[in-house]
């Protein structure tokens, strides 16, 4: 269903309160925000029922601009706050929006445990391979050998694959897309929001200012078209060898499974305890 961007902006943005935003021209965060609004609009979620939590960093500012129940938490902790909200008021649709450093460095423990715990929460991770807001230091997803303000001689550590980490940790739904693949992103975000259990969408994004510039990857356009050229769908990737997949980004749904989820199991315990009390 196509809703004109103008209508989405009018309906969902705090346009009279919190603009201009802090993001650099060409930043992928805006593409993600647009996709998120299309997904929420398509799902016809009431604005009063949506909670959007974030951590610290460029991605952390997104909720500020959106007319939902919004929460800008401490660095890496968005999922812990989201857990409390969801458990206290399960009727709310609770989403967390995080960056790569936010979710897998300082918040890494919360991330894997949120996946293991498998509440009805949705996590969107914008992975731009760098700490942008603080000036371009290396993050857990900065590739081996690349340059940042804290790896000026080339990075000596290997990167996390966030989506694969989520699959292993037990999330019910895991997908990956890039900011180039906006249509796919719309669909994946929708799927993730309605999924029973913990759902993760990793979105590969560009920080041409802090990452692209230091690694000679060009500006926003070059980086984003690079995502297009590097992407391989999950189906295609299954038929490729490890050597062929070297340096490629697999996009699509990596895991979609049904299992008992903790919040529903706890509700059963609660019901039983209350019946016994009577």
């Amino acid at each position: 269903m196509h809703v004109p961007a103008q209508e989405l902006r009018k309906k969902y943005l705090r346009h009279d309160k919190k603009f201009p935003h802090v993001w650099c021209p060409g930043c992928g965060n805006g593409i993600v925000m647009g996709s998120l609004l299309r997904a929420i609009s398509n799902l016809k979620l009431s604005k009063d029922e949506v909670v959007m939590a974030s951590g610290i960093g460029c991605s952390g500012r997104m909720p500020t601009y959106l007319d939902f129940n919004t929460l800008h938490t401490t660095h890496g902790r968005a999922l812990t706050f989201a857990t409390g909200i969801k458990l206290a008021k399960p009727s709310l649709t609770v989403m967390a929006i995080m960056g790569d450093g936010d979710s897998t460095a300082i918040g890494g423990n919360h991330f894997i445990h949120a996946a293991r715990r498998n509440l009805n929460l949705t996590a969107f991770i914008i992975n731009n391979s760098i700490y942008g807001m603080t000036g371009g230091q290396y993050s857990p997803t900065t590739p081996f050998g690349s340059y940042s303000t804290t790896s000026v001689y080339g990075h000596v550590e290997h990167a996390f694959s966030i989506a694969e980490l989520a699959v292993t940790a037990g999330a019910s739904f895991v997908a990956r897309t890039t900011v180039y693949h906006a249509d796919l992103m719309d669909k994946l975000l929708e799927q993730a929001i309605v999924k029973r259990g913990f759902a993760v969408v990793e979105i590969i994004s560009n920080c041409h200012v802090q990452y692209g510039r230091r690694n000679k990857l060009g500006g926003a356009v070059e980086m984003i078209t690079g995502f297009r050229d590097n992407a391989v769908t999950v189906g295609k990737a299954a038929k490729m060898s490890e050597e062929e997949l070297e340096g490629k980004t697999t996009i699509g749904v990596l895991a979609d499974r049904e299992m008992p989820i903790s919040i529903e199991e706890y509700a059963k315990i609660r019901k039983r305890a209350q019946e016994e009390k009577k």
């Binding site: 705090r14 309160k17 919190k18 604005k47 009063d48 029922e49 909670v51 939590a53 909720p63 500020t64 007319d67 939902f68 129940n69 919004t70 929460l71 800008h72 938490t73 401490t74 902790r77 999922l79 812990t80 706050f81 989201a82 857990t83 409390g84 909200i85 969801k86 458990l87 206290a88 008021k89 009727s91 709310l92 423990n109 919360h110 445990h113 706890y266 315990i269 609660r270 039983r272 305890a273 209350q274 016994e276 009390k277």
Partner: protein
Amino acid sequence: MSDLNGTRQLLQGNEAIVHGALAAGCRFFAGYPITPASEIAEQFSLLLPAYDGTFIQMEDEIASMGAVIGSSLAGVKAMTATSGPGFSLMQENLGFACCAEVPCVITNVMRGGPSTGLPTSPAQGDVQMARWGTHGDHPIIVLAVSSVMDSFTITVKAFNLSEKYRVPVIILSDEVVAHTRECVELPPTKDIRVIDRIKPSVPPEWFTPYEGDARGVPPMASFGDGYRHHVTGLIHDKRGFPTQNSDEIEAFHLRLSQKITRGFPEIQMTREFFLDDAQVFVIAYGSVARSALSAVQEARKSGIKAGLLQLITLFPFPRGTVSPLLNQCRAVLVPEMNMGQISREVQRVNQTDCQVVKHNRIDGQSITPTEIYKHLVKL
């Protein structure tokens, strides 16, 4: 309401905290195992489902504090409990709760520190940390419990103050209080006063989430109530949005501080024993206050005009009660299971020639009445 209200019970201090919290309307607990506080988590895990509440064991104390704040933002009263090492981890999100004015209660059952310290021995080493542990200027209320009965009634008060002033309240217990079993008469439900946060009464489009009322405390909407608003740990304006405007930043800090100052008469709780004609007195809190009361009673029998000021509220420090007593008496003894964390406060507010005498134990042992008595006869 707590099923035990209005009955006589043999309870441990840690258990009494749980029953106090349930009586105050707490329906959410998030925590992480730690000695000597674990019984609080275990009791909540047992009892909360029947109260339609939620217990969750998080991956660490940072996460526990985050979940507690989340629950409170969604409108469900929440608490956590820990001991020194966990309390250290909670300081980050505790600061968030101070900044965003999220009501919540944190119990710290103190054990010997620093670091892993003395997991099963009593101490009072976290007093200044409870006040100043999280970074930046911030308001906070710190209460100390001395008995099983206190663990019930002060926990109810902690929730009430937290809801009324939109501020985190720290309950400091210690290993002695936490694990002592005493027979207590729990008050009937009708006698337990429960205060809930004030909700906005204006239509959502008129709602200004961080505009204080006459007391400086903003009415608080829960997520999902239809009052969509922004909550952040950044310094914010009245609308809740980040600000760099120096006038707004100053107004934010002043309101946060003044909402507590205005509540001093209600917040600063103490108990006075034999103070009317006292010439020397003891200032004590937690389990030490009970040893102090015994010692003061003995001293009275020996003809010494001794008194006891038991502090329930440690911070904001009850200067208004302490100062006149310093004027009245020739000496004050401050016994503590630390190197002298409240005696610093006493010295700070002392503008008389009243002699401030410290008595400190840092060996993992509790302070006995005899020790305090020996000091009192020399004052």
